[in-house]
């Protein structure tokens, strides 16, 4: 009943807090998309009920131990006279550790269940944060550039007005690129400019029809892009398709598909498959030698600028500000910024915001678990603490031993989380990238210092903070008084 009450109160509080939090998350992505108005309250209530039921189920399971206790156990204080097998794994005589360190390590290895549960919880907490960090870092990194079906350039202009001029037919892709190139050259920044054009032809194969978006750029080579299968198109009648388009058309490498551009239908051989996050993976690529009229190009990804003098990263950053001034636009980025603009401006910020929020919650959870576990340990180990003090251990030695135990658990959790971080990230996040078009997964941008050092240190610090033994260990005579209270006389 006690835990039912606690779980119910927690579920109610969590449910009501989830409403503003969910609205906050949705608001950052709903600016550019229309979302349905279906009520998520029912889902929230169901989830809250599920949490309560799970907690009760575990409580019920744990209370099974009560059945095993008999009245005589109270008389004998749990001593049945039975002998148990060896507990301690380490040997003080063979160890090089000091007394405190040895006792801490020995306690952890001697009670694997107790400390194992704590270690698993800390590992899961760390993995949660690491997954979010890896996802956020990847979403704003140039490692996703191949999935944007673009080559690596120094600068990208994604000004919507300039793109709209092409989309409305006011100017062609080629003219716009030439205009930008001339303007930059006149301003002392000689360069070459190209753009990935998007063409939406009708594709047909064995009665299967589709209208994917094809990418086309006459200023780059088809072999400049990455393919997961087959070889890059070499001739004008060769194309590459994404796996999802090939699947829908039921076509494969070597098949000839019919593509209609501006009412002219021709046969093209599929030579390669690739991954793309453009248009949720429904894309293809033409060879650069194919003559596609500018009128067929409906959109461009952005205008890519390659400076003639191959500047370094710092120089590129300063030129970005110059180019912004030249074109009076703020939509000028380096490769990382371009990838972010393709994914969505607010997505990375949202994920980072969620990451910080989750980290905060995890720190609170870790501290609370540590506090609860330490209180439980102190309560269970009162005779041992009193014995250590009677033997001559100082309060700080006992505190150090208890703190070290938590630190050891946190360190093991950190090592496990570091080892599992990449595979777990792939397991959890690859399906999400898959929905966006990256069916074969992505190359994650893992920042080692942040993921393998900062977060484990934060969790370890939270563990130590929560596990620092409480003041009644510090009070010498309160612990030693354990022996006094065990005496039948006063």
């Amino acid at each position: 009943m006690k835990y039912l009450g606690i779980a119910a109160i927690g579920a109610v509080i969590g449910f009501f807090l989830s409403i503003p939090f969910g609205n906050m998350l949705l608001s950052s992505v709903s600016r550019k998309m229309y979302l349905g108005s279906d009520s998520s309250a029912a889902v929230g209530i169901l989830c809250s009920l599920a949490v309560v039921l799970v907690i009760l189920a575990f409580c019920w399971r744990c209370t099974r131990k009560i059945k095993k206790l008999s009245p005589i156990d109270a008389v004998r204080s749990g001593q049945t006279g039975e002998r148990f097998k060896k507990k301690g794994l380490l040997r003080l005589g063979k160890s090089k550790l000091g007394a405190t360190g040895f006792l801490a390590l020995n306690d952890v290895f001697s009670s694997p269940k107790q400390f194992g549960v704590m270690t698993v919880i800390f590992t899961v907490c760390l993995l949660l944060v690491m997954c979010l960090a890896n996802t956020g870092n990847t979403l704003a990194s140039r490692k996703l550039l191949p999935l944007m079906c673009s080559t690596d350039s120094d600068i990208y202009i994604t000004d919507t007005d300039m793109i709209m001029e092409v989309m409305t037919g006011e100017t062609t892709v080629t003219e716009q690129c030439d205009k930008i190139e001339k303007k930059l050259t006149d301003n002392g920044l000689p360069c070459s400019v190209h753009a990935e054009g998007l063409v939406s032809p009708a594709v047909e194969f064995k009665g299967n029809k589709l209208s994917p978006t094809f990418l086309y750029c006459k200023d780059t080579k088809a072999s400049d892009y990455s393919y997961s299968e087959g070889y890059a198109p070499k001739y004008s009648n060769e194309i590459a398709l994404t796996s999802s388009v090939a699947e829908k058309l039921e076509a494969g490498i070597g098949d000839k598909v019919n593509i209609t551009i501006n009412e002219k239908t021709d046969e093209y051989i599929v030579t390669a498959l690739f991954q793309s996050m453009v248009k949720l993976g429904e894309t293809g690529r033409f060879h650069e030698s194919l003559k596609i009229p500018d009128s067929a190009v409906s959109q461009v990804m952005g205008f890519q600028i390659d400076f003639d003098d191959s500047p370094d990263e710092e120089e590129i950053k300063s030129r970005i500000s110059r180019v912004k001034d030249i074109f009076d636009t703020k939509y000028v980025d380096d490769t990382d910024g371009f990838v972010m603009s393709c994914i969505g401006e607010g997505v990375k910020d949202t994920i980072n915001g969620v990451k910080v929020f989750v980290l905060l919650i995890i720190v609170i959870i870790v501290i609370m678990i540590s506090v609860l576990m330490e209180r439980s340990f102190i309560s269970k180990e009162k005779p041992e603490i009193a014995l250590m003090k009677a033997m001559g251990f100082k309060s700080r030695s006992v505190r150090r031993q208890h703190t070290l135990r938590f630190l050891i658990s946190a360190a093991i959790a950190a090592v496990l989380a570091i080892l599992l971080s990449t595979p777990v990230t792939r397991l959890c996040i690859d399906p999400i990238f898959g929905i966006m078009g990256a069916i074969d997964g992505v190359e994650y941008n893992i920042k080692p210092v942040e993921v393998f050092a900062v977060y484990p240190v934060i969790i370890a610090a939270a563990t130590v903070l929560g596990g620092i033994p409480h003041s009644h260990v510090h009070e010498d005579h309160q612990s030693l008084g354990y022996f006094r209270h065990r005496i039948k006389e006063i």
């Binding site: 507990k87 040997r91 033997m391 001559g392």
Partner: protein, 231 residues
């Protein structure tokens, strides 16, 4: 205080507050113990025997009076220096045979020696001393055993070994045979008597007259006061 005196107690008082009522457990207790003595403290239940033992050993704080151990006044010592005294100069034997449950018998015995910084010994040397003590008390065979794998008498002898590992000035024993059967009691008292004959000072609390009979002096305490001393 003579050079031979190891413990000197003067006008010792100990009061507990229970349910807002003052309970004077020890009232102006005065006595002394010389080096090499084996002193028993006897008395009826509730007379303050164990309280006396824990107060004079520094385990419990005195309310008033003075206790000098090896010439040092306990009330003038900090918590850390009292802890050091317990580690290096005192040994304790309890009725309930408290041991660290995750350590083997030999590790329990040698733990105080590993913790102590007085002697600069290697682990091997400490281990050898522990094994020597166990051999002396006739429990070599349980060296690597877990504490749940031995009998009560063996465990209490292991506690005696632990109390001796740092060559203490004095051993304080609270009902060392209280939880043992007759045979084990006799074995344990035999060991304590042997240690005393080798020069270890022992103060023990007991209500067993057979145990008290083995001691050189018996202090009889009633209602918190020493009523008599039998040599």
């Amino acid at each position: 205080m003579s050079n031979n005196r190891i413990l000197e107690v003067k006008d010792l008082c100990k009061t507990y507050i229970i349910n807002k009522r003052q309970n004077n457990v020890l009232r102006n207790v005065s006595f002394s113990i010389d080096k090499g003595e084996m002193v028993a403290v006897m008395g009826p239940s509730g007379s303050g025997k164990s309280t006396l033992l824990y107060t004079v050993s520094g385990m419990d704080k005195m309310t008033a009076g003075d206790v000098k151990f090896c010439g040092k006044s306990l009330s003038e010592q900090s918590e850390n220096s009292l802890a050091e005294m317990r580690l290096d100069d005192m040994g304790f034997i309890f009725q309930q045979m408290y041991m660290m449950k995750n350590l083997s018998i030999i590790d329990n015995i040698t733990l105080p020696a590993v913790k102590s910084t007085r002697k600069k010994e290697s682990r091997k040397e400490i281990l050898r001393r522990g094994q020597d003590l166990m051999h002396k008390l006739g429990i070599s065979e349980i060296c690597e055993n877990d504490i749940n794998e031995v009998s009560g008498g063996q465990l209490q002898r292991a506690c005696i070994c632990r109390s001796m590992i740092n060559d203490p000035q004095m051993i304080f024993a609270d009902e060392p045979t209280g939880a043992l059967n007759r045979t084990s009691s006799d074995e344990v008292m035999e060991e304590l008597t042997k240690l005393n004959s080798e020069g270890t000072t022992i103060m023990l609390v007991t209500h067993d007259s057979k145990v008290a009979a083995k001691c050189s002096r018996v202090l009889y305490i009633v209602d918190g006061n020493i009523r008599g001393s039998i040599i």
